[in-house]
Subunit: 337 residues, 2 copies
């Protein structure tokens, strides 16, 4: 069988270590017959993790040796200077050399972004990379960016984020272009500061399916497919969601278990509670893409288990099959702005 | 009995109209023996709503006639020019003339802010007003500002928001000063844009109990008592919380009722579900204060019912008893910055 797709995995990354990266990768190999995977890391650590895989699967796994590991707290600058033989760097190198179509890492976000930016460079015409992810919403999900690659954005950069978000949200199955909204503090034209107003003007003149301003609650209503904002606001919004969801889940657990009667009663509601938990399972939403780069890089959550990591790998595969970077380049060129 | 406290109520405000404003006000009168209330609005509308109140309560209610009503979509500028006999304007006038110690309105936020700013003016030394509210958090709540009075903020303004938040969060029962955090995209000193970094430097030199940068999730952890941010980020974060909570509550309802068995099972978990709902009941968190003004103005949610409106009135009373505006002035003067 000919293999058409190769993905590089930074297998030493994440809080749970290589075991969950490798297990997640094997899981995706199983369901994706034309996939090859290169596990990047320390061979003596990775080889034992492959022993349980079948010979057929094993034949589609390659190892790429890297002697260093990037810590979660290391400064991007130090990583770029002193960790040139790290699994993070080597995985990105494989994308740069064309040996892999995408790379996936659960590692240090800042180091991954800085190294990817340095090694892969940008898509022609895109000024800054952005972090994009799917947020659960009514009727599916909302594609949101920038979630923190930059601490601010110019109007032109917000416009480019909209182009990238539009490409990311276009799954090819729908005939219509994704609806794009610009995050603001109100829906009226007069709302917001100079930067969003200037971006609003650019977007109105574009050929994107631009729907105007949206507010924080619209992230979840399904009113638009893409929510565009600067990396400061986007990062605060994302972490606000995470914090609220965590607190609510803790309070719900307290209320369900604070007495023997409550614990008994909660058993009867278990199917509903499980259904709820599944619909918001963060593992199903694992994987944030670093778009704008001239190559595909997916950041998996640091605490990702095998199921979550597999989801991030599938995200990378999907982007690779669709050729997202070149699609972004073409969509940008097609804009009249 | 001598009445020490008088509150003005914009009784024509809110989506539910005068009935819930008046019912909420009467409720607070009942539990606050030294309170007098002035209901501002159209007397022929308000009088029938007082018929069920006892004579004793009725003796502590005054009416102030105002012939106009401010619509929720009216522009602040138009309201200030053409609605000088509106219930919103007259209620603020009562604060300005000293006849009331605070005013409460469920009306148009922009018009309330602009009119209050124009009529009451600012506390000496404070550049911009801010909207502050309590957000449910582990172990109580977090006081957060600015939630949208301004679309941006300078470092000095963020510093002043921190002073105001510190005063608002100081309930007098605790010996220690409220812990103040500055919202950013990471906790390290190097994180964030120029404005937060400059505000961080000012706050480190202040005599506030400043704890450094916090992230979106820290709003809910109880790590700090006050979260300071600009009005754009704060408004997006607030509406993001509202949107997520609404979606989750809808999905939970779907999961609990999607089959007869689920509906039956959910009956057994009803006490827990009710307990959860009560802990996050938005009515308990109704009322956002417009701080920085030389007078107390509390904005109640447009959709507030009597219970929620009563909560906003109590917030105004608490601020009036503590003399929040003068306390802010003194705390600002005490800063070495």
């Amino acid at each position: 069988m000919q293999h058409s797709l190769s993905i590089a995995i930074d297998a030493m990354s994440g809080d749970l270590g290589p075991a969950s990266c490798v297990a997640g990768a094997i899981e995706v190999l199983r369901s994706t017959p034309d996939l090859e995977i290169t596990l990047v890391g320390i061979p003596s650590v990775l080889e034992p993790l492959l022993l349980t895989a079948s010979k057929a699967l094993r034949s589609r796994v390659h190892l790429c040796a890297a002697s260093q590991i990037v810590g979660m707290d290391e400064r991007p600058r130090d990583v770029m200077r002193h960790k040139k033989d790290s699994s993070l760097r080597r995985a990105i190198d494989l994308v740069a050399s064309g040996q892999a179509s995408a790379c996936i890492s659960s590692g240090n976000t800042g180091a991954l972004m800085a190294t990817s930016h340095f090694v892969l460079g940008m898509i022609a015409g895109i000024e800054r990379p952005a972090i994009v992810a799917n947020i659960p919403a009514t009727g599916g999900h909302t594609c949101m960016l920038d979630l923190g690659a930059n601490v601010s954005a110019t109007p032109v950069q917000l416009f480019q984020f909209a182009v990238m978000g539009s490409v990311m949200a276009h799954d090819g199955r729908r005939a219509t272009q994704p609806r794009v909204g610009l995050l603001n503090v109100g829906a009226e034209d007069i709302k917001g500061h100079d930067v969003v107003q200037a971006a609003h003007a650019l977007l109105k003149r574009s050929s994107l399916n631009y729907c105007g301003y949206v507010e924080g609650n619209d992230i979840f209503t399904g009113a638009v497919d893409v929510v565009v904002t600067d990396g400061f606001t986007g990062n605060v919004a994302l972490k606000t969601m995470e914090g609220l969801a965590r607190m609510q889940s803790r309070v719900m657990h307290e209320e369900l278990t604070c007495s023997p009667w409550r614990r008994l009663g909660s058993l009867f509601a278990l199917p509903a509670l499980r259904g709820f938990r599944q619909r918001f399972d963060p593992r199903r939403y694992n994987g944030a893409s670093m778009v704008g780069l001239a190559g595909i890089v997916v950041k998996s959550h640091g605490s990702a288990d095998a199921v979550a990591f597999a989801h991030a790998v599938r995200l990378g595969i999907d982007e690779a099959r669709r050729g997202v970077p070149s699609e972004i380049g073409m969509t940008l060129k097609a804009q009249a702005v």
